[in-house]
Symmetry: C2
Subunit: 171 residues, 2 copies
């Protein structure tokens, strides 16, 4: 890891748990710990993507979506899947198209739509990024005990479901 990367990462990642004071409730401390971990990891990934591949997380995510659907996706589908508004998909797609990583293909049956899909170059590029991405993750979690890894996965599963249910239940 480069020194700049470390600096950038640290700059983005205050140890938020220090926000907590002794009287704080346990849930608050739990949340701050969760947030700190997540931010630490996420900004390392962002930094890696930037320095190793001159890319960003949204670009990576868009390419990941396309890689899973070899026939390509409509922009509106991408928008729904990535839960980002249409205009933003246009913007990211413009960048990636300019670099020859994705292509827009006109749909015969609906002249308003385009299908976006990875070009051969885009597939190669994504494969490389995804490989590194997985390796970054792997190495960041490497020191975690098997027991903690399993319980983390389970507990987060419960938390995730709860949070999502809370949202949809009140919509």
């Amino acid at each position: 890891m480069s020194e700049t990367l470390i600096t950038a990462t640290l700059q983005n990642n205050p140890d938020l748990e220090s926000r907590a004071v002794p009287e704080d409730h346990q849930d608050l401390r739990l949340w701050l710990r969760l947030l700190t971990c997540c931010n630490l990891i996420e900004s390392q990934i962002r930094s890696h993507l930037r320095t190793d591949f001159e890319s960003t997380l949204p670009r990576f995510d868009l390419m990941a979506q396309l890689q899973r659907t070899p026939g390509g996706m409509k922009m509106s589908e991408l928008s729904r899947h990535m839960m980002v508004t249409n205009g933003n998909i246009t913007g990211i797609t413009d960048q990636l198209e300019k670099e020859g990583l994705v292509e827009r293909i006109k749909v015969a049956t609906d002249r308003r739509s385009s299908i976006i899909r990875l070009t051969a170059k885009g597939k190669r590029s994504f494969r490389k990024m995804a490989k590194s991405h997985e390796e970054w993750i792997r190495s960041m979690f490497a020191g975690l005990s098997e027991k903690n890894r399993a319980s983390l996965f389970e507990a987060l599963g419960e938390l995730k479901q709860m949070t999502q249910v809370n949202l949809s239940g009140r919509a």
Copy 2:
């Protein structure tokens, strides 16, 4: 929770775990689950801060720092603690000062420095926000079983320490 809030929250929170495909490694799935949970919670907090208090997370964090040190802090200290560059502290402080929530106090011994501290209004305001903040957190974690809560706290502790060690170890 308002409907706009829910929409905004959902818009910001794709279920990133769907990025994972069956062959993905366990660590990757764990990370995506962690990220999803974190983003879901964080953007609910951001939305709450915005709609209930017309505030933002960095502003809340800065006020939280000040609340813990009643004598106030120098801007450079704030910058170090929040791990954000000086210019940004100036910007947030300007906003908060304009609203009468913090005040700059000249330091006699070093005419370059100012001490920033919460005003009485700022203290009241922060207390209210912190109370709500804790309640939001509490209600978001409410459904989590005691067992999962404990194991999450422990596992994240290990993960946090690891990640931080990884960084400092290579610096």
